[in-house]
Symmetry: C2
Subunit: 247 residues, 2 copies
């Protein structure tokens, strides 16, 4: 009997696992209602790791990204960021900092994802890198407006991206072309950062800034891995992104 | 000139403050589009502190809370919580724990807020306490289903609420009436906790549980102050709440 206990537990576990979610939590059959809720759970990080948009939500995501929803969500998030920024007392020593992620924060890769299934296809690094090399990602207008506002207020701006050093030229060129001038530093993954979870890599780089004496007041990113970890900013601003998840 | 510098800076600051948000970030004039985005910013904590629902969004919030949206968002959040819970290996020593907040997490105060302006009125502690004493807050069905699922899986459940010790009887009675039986402990604010920010109070109490040997795998709450701080759970699950904000 003692020997069969683990097997019994395993069978019980499999039985419970297979039945609980089916039986006790009802999910809406209406695609728009469900997909709205899926997006809520994505943006609050309730979903945790996910690797593709659920098939029933692909056209919902397309409508959201290309319609009023995404633009408005970005605008309201930026307006709260700017509202906070205006409460920060700028010391004038150049150490009052704001950190921006790049992809889906300053630049939009929507033209790429529009021809790659709006988040429904597995990520293809080769074709995405080709897209990055084109340096044609448009600015997210609300972020560009926030960026200009922060510069006007006297913030020192850092870009901290998961892109790699070999993408420096294309990234810097793209940022410049889209109006993001006069930033302090563009930080990219070096070879020693390859393979690190984004949360760790970005935390380490923020810590370096803190050790250099910068006061990181704000941090804008579309992934929780841009915002969590250590050396976090005073306030974090989560931008919408229902296309992909980076741990 | 040196003396007038601060005054000049102040005037410049006031000028910039007054113009930036008006001029450079456009917000949607469509109430539903704007209020959807406001809710996104509330749920991601981009708004930070807020004390009432914007007047243009009160009927939007009413529709959301009483219609399919809130129910569906709660269901999807609970389904992800349960999905994660099923991946946890339960040791069988009673130390695998899940922490629930109470208000707008296990119990709904919607009947109270429905007659108090759906978040548009300033919080009135006296009338809210009278409502709590009635012990008539209904269960949030998705949370009750999650609760039952967690108990079936073998989790030890703690309730950690911002309610005060003098509300213990009404709260315990209400929970029992709504089907929340067999939990380990109901933790309320003691007199030494009064006035503490919720994040600190809840972190301290979670740390006590950790020090007692509990492994806090999951934490469900409708406020970021339920989920942030220290002694945080392995995974946090943010439930929707556009009615109020607790720092």
């Amino acid at each position: 009997m003692a020997k069969s206990q683990p097997l019994f537990s395993l069978l019980l576990f499999i039985f419970i696992s297979g039945t609980i979610s089916q039986s006790i939590i009802q999910l809406s059959r209406d695609h728009d209602v469900y997909c709205n809720s899926w997006r809520f759970s994505v943006e609050t990080n309730d979903v945790g790791y996910w690797d593709h948009v659920p098939s029933r939500c692909v056209s919902y995501v397309q409508d959201y990204m290309t319609g009023d929803g995404y633009r408005s969500d970005s605008e309201v998030a930026s307006s709260y960021a700017l509202g906070f920024a205006k409460t920060v007392e700028i010391a004038g020593d150049g150490k009052d900092a704001w950190v921006f992620d790049v992809d889906e924060t300053l630049l939009s890769n929507l033209p790429y994802y529009a021809v790659h299934g709006f988040g429904s296809e597995p990520f293809d690094e080769l074709s995405f890198d080709d897209w990055v090399d084109l340096a044609e990602a448009p600015a997210i207008q609300a972020s560009l407006n926030l960026y200009k506002g922060l510069k006007q207020l006297g913030f020192t701006v850092f870009m901290l991206t998961g892109r790699s050093e070999h993408q420096r030229n294309a990234t810097a060129k793209n940022l410049q072309l889209e109006g993001y001038g006069d930033y302090e530093r563009l930080i990219l993954r070096e070879s020693l950062d390859q393979g690190k979870p984004a949360t760790l890599y970005k935390s380490q780089r923020r810590l370096e800034l803190v050790n250099e004496g910068y006061r990181i007041h704000g941090n804008s990113g579309d992934q929780w891995s841009d915002l969590y970890g250590f050396a976090v900013s005073e306030r974090s601003f989560k931008l919408p992104n229902p296309l992909y998840y980076i741990p």
